[in-house]
Symmetry: C2
Subunit: 228 residues, 2 copies
C-alpha cells in the first residue's frame, strides 16, 4: 500500500513564530520538502519555514519551477511537471511537506498541484495557516471586521473603484498599486497598509497618502467600512 | 513605569495544534488569562488554548461576562466593565493573554475591549491566528480562492440572496441558516459547509442539500465562484 502523502502547509505571512504547532510538527517529520520555486533561498515560504524549523536544511528539497508568467499554457505545463515529480516521490511512500505563504486555501500555487495530485489518486492534506490580511490588521492594531460587517478580499486592483463601493471592509492584495491608489484618491477614501508583514522590512502606512507607489509585492491595503 | 500588556491571541477554530508557536509562548508566559465569558469551562477559546497549553489551568482567570444580547447598551456596559477590570490588572503590571477563537481581527469581542484598553493608555498586541474559514476550506480539501477570484465574508445571512450575486467565493458565518439555505435553494446555488471545524464534532457537508437546518452556531458555509 502506498503511504505517501502531500501536505500543503501554511507558514503564515513572514514571522516564523506564526507557524502553527501542527505546521512545525509536519515539516519536522516530513521526508521531503517541496517548494514552488527553482531555488529554496529565493522561496519566501521556505525561508519562513526554516526560521521555525532550522533542521529543514537537512531534508531533500523538490524544486518545482513556476514560470513568472500569466500564460495559461506555460503555467499548465509547470503544474503538470510538478505533479509528475510529486507523484514519483509519493509512489516511494514519501511524506512531502510543501510550505505555502500565508494560508494554502488563499491564492496559493499549492491549490493547482493539490488538485492534480489528488486526481492521480494520492492523499493530500491542507494545513491552514495565518493569512497575511489577518496578520496585517493585527500589525496595525485594528480589527478587520466586527459585528455584522462584511469582509471583501480583492486580488489585484482591476475594478478597484467598483470594489470600494462594496459595504464593509475591503482588503486589496497582489499588486497593480497605481490603479488602487488612483481609485482611493478619486473617491476620497482613506486606507491603511502593511508592507512585508512580520519581517524585518515590515512597514506600516496609516493613511492612503503615506503608501508609496513603488511599494513591493507584499503589500496588503485595508479600507475599513464606515459602519463602526 | 507600567509594564502591563494585553495580548489578544488567536487560538484558531478548534484544533489545539492550530495555535501558533507565538500563541503558545505568550499564553505560557502570561500572568493572567482573560476570557470573554463567565465560565472558563464554557469558553471555547479557553478550552482550545488549554488543549495546547495545559498549564494554563495554573494561571488566574479574569472572566469578563458578556451578556447574550444584541442590546447595544448592555453590551457597552459589559465592555466598559471588562475594560475596567483589565485596567486594574494592567496597572499591576500584569501580562494578560486573552485567547480568542479563530483570529482576533475577525468578529472578535477582543476588538471592543482592545479599543477601550488602548484609549486608557495601555499596550495592546494583536496576535493573529488561523481563521475558521481557512480551516474549513482546508478540511474540505479545496481552495477558497485562486488567481484573481474575490473572497467575500458574510456574517449572518441577511441579504444572502444579494451576497450570492457577488463574483468570486462567498463564505457565510454566524447563523441565520434558514435564510441562507432558502436563498441557496431559490437561486439554485450549491454550497459546502463545515460544522465544528477541527473538533471531535467536525462534520463536512459536500452539498447544500446535506446541510441540516438545525446545524450549530459553528457552521461555515462556502459557495465557490464559477470562475475556475
Amino acid at each position: 500500500m502506498n503511504t505517501g502523502i502531500l501536505y500543503g502547509i501554511g507558514v503564515g505571512p513572514g514571522d516564523p513564530e506564526l507557524l502553527t504547532v501542527k505546521a512545525v510538527r509536519l515539516i519536522r517529520t516530513s521526508d521531503l520538502i517541496a517548494i514552488a520555486h527553482r531555488d529554496p533561498e529565493k522561496c519566501f515560504a521556505y525561508r519562513i519555514a526554516r526560521g521555525a524549523v532550522p533542521e529543514i536544511e537537512n531534508k531533500p528539497v523538490l524544486c518545482i519551477d513556476m514560470p513568472m508568467t500569466h500564460d495559461p499554457k506555460a503555467r499548465e505545463r509547470a503544474y503538470e511537471a510538478g505533479a509528475a515529480a510529486l507523484k514519483q516521490a509519493l509512489l516511494e511512500g514519501k511524506r512531502i511537506a510543501m510550505p505555502t505563504l500565508g494560508d494554502p486555501t488563499v491564492y496559493a500555487s499549492f491549490s493547482y498541484l493539490a488538485a492534480r495530485v489528488k486526481r492521480l489518486g494520492f492523499a493530500v492534506e491542507w494545513v491552514p495557516g495565518v493569512p497575511s490580511f489577518c496578520a496585517s490588521a493585527a500589525a496595525l492594531g485594528e480589527p478587520l471586521v466586527t459585528d455584522r460587517e462584511m469582509l471583501h478580499l480583492i486580488p489585484g486592483a482591476e475594478g478597484a473603484a467598483d470594489a470600494l463601493a462594496l459595504p464593509g471592509t475591503k482588503v486589496f492584495m497582489k499588486g497593480e498599486l497605481n490603479e488602487l491608489l488612483d481609485a482611493l484618491a478619486d473617491s476620497g477614501t482613506d486606507a491603511q497598509a502593511v508592507e512585508n508583514c512580520g519581517t524585518d522590512g515590515q512597514r506600516l502606512y496609516r493613511s492612503a497618502s503615506e503608501i508609496p507607489r513603488d511599494a513591493g509585492y507584499y503589500l496588503v491595503t485595508i479600507v475599513r467600512g464606515n459602519e463602526t
